[in-house]
């Protein structure tokens, strides 16, 4: 099966998108990340869910995860309020640390898609169509979608 058939509609965000909205989209649609497009509509990086957590969790808790145990639910709510008035740009790593966007062409085979995911340690790849000299995102493939396609059907118990 080609990437075109595997691809599913996928929400796109821009660096100026609201951070809270982006995080909510991930949560409600059970997505591992979001594709970030530039001003020109070209996709240029992935915002993984883990990066949202890195933004929310203070560095001192990341350095010493044991401290998380001392914090209660109210503190957790307080941390999540950091997303208010923030944009996707605030969530992204520094420009030099941005992950390269995993992209496959619409004609890529499922094995090619798997190879890109494995090489780039990404749970999602964008599927693009080179259309009249311009690149258009037609959707994305998540690792769960790919595995669902690749794995043999479980024997009936």
């Amino acid at each position: 099966m080609t990437a075109r058939k595997l691809a599913q509609p996928f929400p796109l965000v821009t660096p100026d998108s609201d951070a809270m909205e982006a995080a909510r989209t991930m949560a409600t649609q059970h997505l591992p990340g979001l594709i970030v497009c530039g001003e020109d509509g070209r996709p240029y990086t992935i915002l993984p869910g883990s990066q949202v957590l890195r933004f929310l969790i203070p560095s001192y808790v990341q350095d010493d995860p044991g401290l998380a145990g001392a914090l209660d639910e109210a503190a957790s709510d307080e941390l999540c309020r950091k997303l208010v008035h923030s944009t996707v740009r605030d969530l992204l790593p520094r420009p030099q640390d941005l992950d390269e966007l995993p992209v496959v062409d619409v004609d890529a085979t499922s094995l090619e898609v798997a190879a890109v995911m494995a090489r780039m340690h990404s749970p999602v790849v964008a599927v693009v169509d080179d259309h009249d000299g311009g690149i258009r995102v037609i959707g994305a493939i998540t690792v769960s979608r790919l595995l669902d396609h690749m794995l043999p059907t479980a024997p009936a118990s």
Binding site: P58, S59, Y60, V61, D63, D64, G66, L67, G69, A70, L71, D72, A74, A75
Partner: protein, 430 residues
Amino acid sequence: MTSVLVVAAFAAAYVLIATERIHRVAAALSGAAAMVLLGVVDARVAFFSEKTGVDWNVIFLLLGMMVIVSVLKQTGVFDYLAIWSAKRTRGRPFATMVMLVVITAAASALLDNVTTVLLIAPVTLLVCDRLGLPPVPFLIAEALASNIGGTATLIGDPPNIIIASRAGLTFNDFVVNLAPIVIILMVVFIGLCRVLFRSAFTYDPERVAALMALDEREVIRDRGLLLRSGIVLVAVMVGFVAHSALHIQPSMVALLGAGALVALSKLDPPEFLEEVEWPTLVFFMGLFVMVGALVEVGVIGRLGTLLTEAVGDQYLLASSALLWGSAILSGIVDNIPYVATVTPLVQTLVGAGGGAGQANALWWALALGADLGGNSTAVGASANVVVIGIAARAGHPISFWRFTRYGSVVAVVTIAVSWLYLYLRYYSFG
């Protein structure tokens, strides 16, 4: 001719270490390699000579303590202590700072300074976050307190370990001679904190509830391990105190403690070796070979004779010069290579004085100068550099000058008080 080449190679390696143009480990190993190539050092001189070789007591004492710290870190005891003590102050900023710096100083006396600030800084950020306080003054105060507290014991700061091993001083010698002045210095330091960081002490009663909501019991990750570690740590401290009576070197005490903790903790090697700083241990080995070469060709002996003649019986003058000179140099360059180089010279001076009290006080002048001098600049001690890094990662950058502005005041005052202590204890009433 060989002596000139050895001194030139030593100076070149020292400049590379001081300027950090290449990694200090590479610089020290290059210096050691140069000594081998010059034909001054062979395997016997480097590995088996007590006088000119690698000081294995220092290396294995450091290794043992690093393993002990690796296991203690897994318990969460430092987080517990910091949160518990901050809650006892009910969020009053100055009282909170006092508690945190006292914990830091006490921990630094028993453990490595860098490890102490690495353990205490994250929980300090948490406490400041809860109280809405600026964390920078707290972090700077902790770095300074770790350097003061580490001065108190043989194991508190690497220069003390070198001095103890080379001078044959015991754990109790350090406690008797340095712990009293460190307690005085901590009182002075707390007074300085009140003045230097006064703008940080804004009390917001509404934020206190957020601090009191922290549950310190939750940060203890393994109660059984905490109990076992506590028992072993107490045994290790008893071993240090009694090591001369038991005729067992501090390095052996540390290694036995480390071995006991490894056996009792059942941790995997990556966990109990987590805090072992292999580059630091290799750096020490390179340094010992470099300094040993100077001893081997007689440079240290000649310098020692010159110094002995110059000093005569003017031990107060020598102590004062050693204290202030060591402090200034330690603010600029790493105090470990400095102490490793100066120790044989001080040994000669003390030997010329017949090991009498006034001559022996030179060791305490060296330890106080080298340890406390690290506070004078942002790069004067490893603990300072580590704290600055943690603060930057947490979004609270500390500039070189900001740290130095506070550190230099603390260094000058603590060294002046130390000079007074040396004068009164060893030269006036000694």
